[in-house]
Symmetry: C5
Subunit: 400 residues, 5 copies
């Protein structure tokens, strides 16, 4: 369906392949790579589309589990992880280069540690469930390659999210304090921009958090993620089946059942304790512990963003009440001044009346001058005091 | 029950039938079509009602899985998909014609690709689970017809949703910037109309998203969606049952059980690895991958709409605070002017008193003129300054 | 416990019994009816309480599944449905009479259609799952009576809800437009009343929607709803058990198990393909399709109400911003007028000073008159322009 | 751990024990009671803590199912219910006394009814599932004692909640109407107090509702609640096991499994239809019907509170818009008055100018007097009309 | 991966080890401790990271269940609990010292009580499920060590949360009352700080509550938490398996299945009532009762915080309406004063006109003086009354 669009995509983008030993080489983005991903790893063109940076805005973070590969799209890190190597897309990006370097550094470290372990007898078992399977020496005592790469990718992305959240918090508090101090258009614009960043960051964190949560909620999905274990199990099962067919005679019915997604093989009790079940548990545990740790980190980042969001909202509420309260106080003083002006205008009216060029019959009376001035002024003061008293009575001036 | 209403519906609307080769022909909306849908495909009149454009406002987007058909109602695309052909309703609509053309284009393309594949030996297996079933050459290596049509319908609708969201975003930002610049009735009305469009679009996207999520959450529903696989399985089961009845003697109990909705057939281990279970997994996987891709796209569209919604809300909050803050500043200046007017009126009062046609005994004194003017003006200025100082003390004028 | 209260209830209310042929007759609300409901249908007094119109405010919509009856309380429709007849309560109500008439009309129609079908060989199978059970001719090819009645009740109630929502929408838009045009107490009161109606209607729709959703989420509950199928199955099981006891010798263990609530009977494979499982699927499907259709309708009604609710909220936000913005403009003009008044008062002050009956030494100078007038007026204009410039500088008058 | 704290608690509080016949006697709160609760009923000290009225604020409503007792803490009703008697705590409280009296009244009633039933042959079977177990005459045809007591407790508490909600509604409507009429501090305070009561009541109702919902969601929890059935089953199982051990030879494996929490016993089909499964269903049904009825009542009460809450919120929104709208109208009139005052001050200015004691050269001209007066007044009116027209043009005065 | 970071962490922090007898000694934070935690207890470096106080802000409260240890991070309490001892981190902190002391006090108490019990024959069975296992004398009649420590940790943390909530409530009410009385910047700041504390405390409580809820929702997780039982079961299983292998001949198939996470062993009924299932139930019950009690306490604390939050929100709404209402009243009085001032200015205008030094032809008329004064004043009063009447008519002054 999208056959015409994708080859150009694959050709245009730079892929880097990193193997178990941490060696990186630029992968040729030709038909062979595409064929390899599709045929050998079970990654469909449809899956590769989510990695296309040209469509980056269309696809949120996601981890897809395919037959023999994990397709990982975590923010800027876009890669396809198989059990033996990882293909990283868009390798020109600065962040991606940093990720590849970190990947190489850690893989070299692990390879160095593992070498002697695999030489001699593994002195360092992982301690998990070894009670139940003391006789089996599992070759995947160390975390499988695909989980290790996934962990590094998660680590890089989660740390970045946490750093960005920290930056945001560091920017938000002075901006909010500034706004609380003085509501200006610039301060408002600044807070608004921070809020915008916060919303976008929250969406990102939430998306990755939900991706991890979904895996953590479903044991069978986590088990599928452990590609190495899946491969081993398939091999084991194949050999088991042939064994079984030999040992089970025609008169023994075999029971296969599946409950809740956990697959269970028929196990003849006389064939030794194959005990696939607890094996499967340990496989899931490996994945669970990786995802759980980063889920917790993201959850914490998410909580921080939520707290910041509530802090901004509270500050806005606070500013609203503050502005409202200030306005009331301004209006209160305005009211007093209006009242005073009104009282002055009462005097003006009286003086105006006596100022008219009409015969008021007291033109020469100084007593009248004094009396009029005094009475009017006194009256005005009384009126003013009455207004203030009335307002106080109505509890409208209690604050001044 | 609704027998009288429906025939008219079917008659009045134009149906177009498109087959596997992409050939389209107008279907006669008569009794035969209705009978065919009902009897052969298991689509009830009740199901057809959701496609009725006359009732379009009553029925939100939905995908119904019936015995041998999918009833799809995704926005303007209303069709019934069987394993061999698709009946598209309301074919006069411009959008629907575009959908039919796209459908034909892609089906012709696939038919062309598939022809040689089916001729020779399939060189391109789908790579899924072929480890577990290397001996079985499945004829449905390519995606079944009904899923292909469903994918095209989802693609068309999801792209449309995404385009509409993009348009909305493109319209929202200048409108909001305009509103931020200048709160006018026109700008408000513009934002309000955008908000309305957004709410309606969000509801649409949410509905389709929930439809897909519901299917993704239930493996057995997804399996039912794979009509081709269901048919094949039924055929296989039929032949299996007869085989079983032959091989199982009377003294062998057969176990049939169902756990969690996944049906499992008794399989005598000696009868060859029928392995319905992993088959069923691959069937579900096919459906899951189609739905998952479009669910992710819709989820992203939904996230964008949510972000836009939060952006609009934040802008409104911003405008509210901005308006409040401006109002306070206006009132502040108003307060100063009122104070100044009051001070002027103090002078007016004094001048008014001396302007009265009453004997003030200093009519001829220039000193009195100067003194009165100066003292009163000075007094007024002092009063004004006192008021400003008081307000500053109360932190009411810090901004000016 | 409630023995004393209920007989009066049953006596006081009018019950109408409608049978399969659509014949209605008033049921005697005496001990016999009560005894019949309780003993034969498994409906407890406790269940009848939810139908009591006197307590109508206490009980929201509900559908209870009892041993041999469905107790339905959907808004005004309160009835007890058994497999052969339906008892409708409160038959004096106008709406209920309409429901009973609709019920009769449809039942007569179905009875007429079914009669010939049952005479000859059923030419019209329901097409469901007939692949898996070609040999079994089920007598309930048509929908069982209780589901048909339930469907009619749901249809009546859902249509009413939809109509009420439509009415509400039709009333809301002019009211909101009116409010947008002019915020008056009457318009506010009108919108408020609409909002109230909306909240109440939303609660009703939500309750019924949740009732249906709960059933749709639980297959075993839906299966219980199919009373006819339950009866048949019980009969079949009884006969099966006796058969089994005969055929199973002492040396054959029987397996009974239950997973996820779906009950499964032991079926000896040699006893013919009783295949209770797929049967049970088809029983559930019948119920599911009925509920699903009305759930979708209610969901749509609910979405409409939600959209309306958001529309009202947006309008309120809009009005709030509009009012705020208008207020700012009013205050802005007020500010200008206050500034102008202040400037006028500056002139008044000067003229007042020269108007005092004191010796200003220029009483006879026309030049002084012109100069004073001109300078003062000019000064006032300069002050006014300064104030306006200051406000413009502070972006407070950009709108005027 | 809490051994020191609890004896004092037990000693200090008055316990009343009510038995099946409704006889109440004060229980000695000594070591024996404590020992009895702990050893015979499986109630731990930890469980008793939730009943401690001294800690009442620490523990919300809860129903704990213990080995042989239900620990019930529903608002003021705190009791421990065993299969034969109920221990009610805090028996000095007025509400609790009312509860105990109600309890006695009903228990006596039931005891009276049951006596003859148990004498003769039970003519009144409960009608549940009797199809499937016609041969078994169950001794618990009537609801077990513990469920009866639980029902009475729930009835008392739910009725109280409903009554309080009714009271609140009755108080809220006049308060809100008062506030709508006139926003005063007293009215605001009144509404606020009602809101507070509502929040507290909602929390209470929600807690009990959630407790019931949790039980209704989990069949195995409900089954555990039926203590009588649990006891009987244990007894039955014990006898069954011995039977089984006899009948099952060494060559017959027994199957015990548990899926989804429902326990299922191995039942040899030849040992008669013990059919524990449907039994277990009927046990759960008894509990479910009791809880369901009160869940519905609480759900309705909760809905009422939610509706009231939304009503209060809507009223607040309404008041906000009303206040805003009124304010705009006040400011509008204020604006007109300010404009008029400004126009008056224009005239004052002109009259002031001509009022100056300076030579205006027209002192004796009556024409000048008329002309000045007329022109100035006319000008002022023109200015006023212009201002009004401008505001009308800006749609700022359309309302007046 | 983090190998370089962690040893320094372990070295830098003080660990205290407390054993079953309550004896505490400082653990050497060297390679041995790390090795012990990792190898013997199955605690990975990754798990220890969540305890690192340096990263405390990165990790919210959590309880991790590892192979043989619980990793507990509850606020300030950070410890690793095994079946025989507990390692407490960061032992210099004051709160942590208090926790260790409490831990020692209680452990000593229990040790003292348990000693005689273990000496003689356990006279005090836990009463749980002893009906079903009367023959088995379980050695873990008392709560296992790890659960006891977990309970103490939960007790300490939950009590602290409750105390902090109480403090917050005690601080919030006067602050809110103060704000209601008088909206000042200080009061606003005070409420804002309380709100901030509340948000942070709510997040903390919510996190721990969710941790407990998650365990309570998953029986298998709770079972894993009972480390002692897990150990015993493993031992038992081991011995069982060998027994089984002996007793089961080649002709007996063994069934192993797992449904819903609960593991179930094959149990030959003739091998004695091992009855792992009810055992497993009792193990889960022990954990459940511990978690349930503290979940209830936290839930109550959470409810209190929610109620407080709603109380603060309501108060803010109240203050907003109060401020708005006051403002309207202020503006109303302002309006009256403006109206009065306008009326005064009408008189001023008239008096001004007659005050002009122009010939008004009535200079000597006292009648004119009286008439002008009276008519103008009368007119002004009429205008004022008209304005007031108009406002009253418009319901704008109904409140004054």
């Amino acid at each position: 369906k999208t056959t015409k669009k994708l080859p150009t995509l694959l050709a245009a983008r730079k892929w880097v392949r990193v193997n178990k030993q941490g060696e990186a080489n630029v992968a040729q983005a030709d038909k062979h790579l595409r064929h390899h991903l599709q045929q050998a790893l079970g990654v469909q063109l449809r899956d590769l589309r989510i990695l296309d940076p040209a469509l980056a805005t269309s696809y949120p973070s996601a981890i897809l589990v395919r037959e023999k590969a994990l397709v990982v799209n975590l923010e800027h890190i876009k890669c396809v992880i198989s059990t033996s190597s990882v293909y990283v897309l868009n390798a020109d990006d600065e962040n991606v280069i940093a990720f590849i370097e970190e990947l190489q550094r850690r893989l070299v470290l692990v390879a160095a540690v593992q070498a002697p372990v695999l030489d001699g007898i593994s002195g360092q078992t992982n301690g998990h469930l070894d009670l139940q399977k003391p006789e089996a020496l599992h070759p995947h005592d160390e975390m499988p390659f695909e989980l290790r790469v996934l962990e590094i990718a998660l680590d890089v992305v989660c740390s970045q999210m946490e750093r960005q959240t920290g930056d945001l918090e560091a920017a938000a508090h002075p901006a909010l304090d500034g706004l609380t101090q003085r509501v200006t258009t610039q301060n408002l614009e600044r807070v608004r921009r921070i809020k915008n960043r916060m919303v976008r960051l929250t969406t990102k964190v939430e998306t990755i958090r939900e991706v991890l949560e979904k895996f953590l909620d479903d044991d069978s999905d986590m088990k599928d993620m452990n590609l190495t274990a899946k491969e081993e199990e398939a091999a084991e099962r194949a050999s088991n089946l042939s064994l079984q067919r030999q040992s089970y005679g025609l008169d023994r019915p075999s029971f296969k059942r599946k409950s809740g997604g956990a697959e269970q093989l028929p196990d003849g009790s006389e064939l030794g304790p194959v005990d696939t079940d607890s094996d499967s548990d340990s496989e899931v545990d490996e994945v669970e512990m990786v995802l759980e740790a980063y889920f917790m980190q993201l959850d914490n980042t998410y909580n921080k963003l939520q707290t910041l969001c509530e802090y901004i909202d509270d500050t806005e509420d606070y500013i609203n009440i503050e502005l409202d309260s200030q306005r009331n106080q301004l209006i209160r003083i305005d009211l007093l001044l209006t009242a005073a002006t009104f009282c002055a205008s009462i005097i003006s009216v009286v003086t105006g009346i006596f100022g008219m060029n009409l015969n008021n019959t007291h033109e020469d009376s100084y007593t009248a001058f004094i009396a009029t001035s005094a009475i009017t002024s006194g009256g005005a003061v009384v009126v003013f005091i009455s207004i203030v008293m009335y307002c106080r009575h109505k509890k409208l001036l209690s604050f001044v």
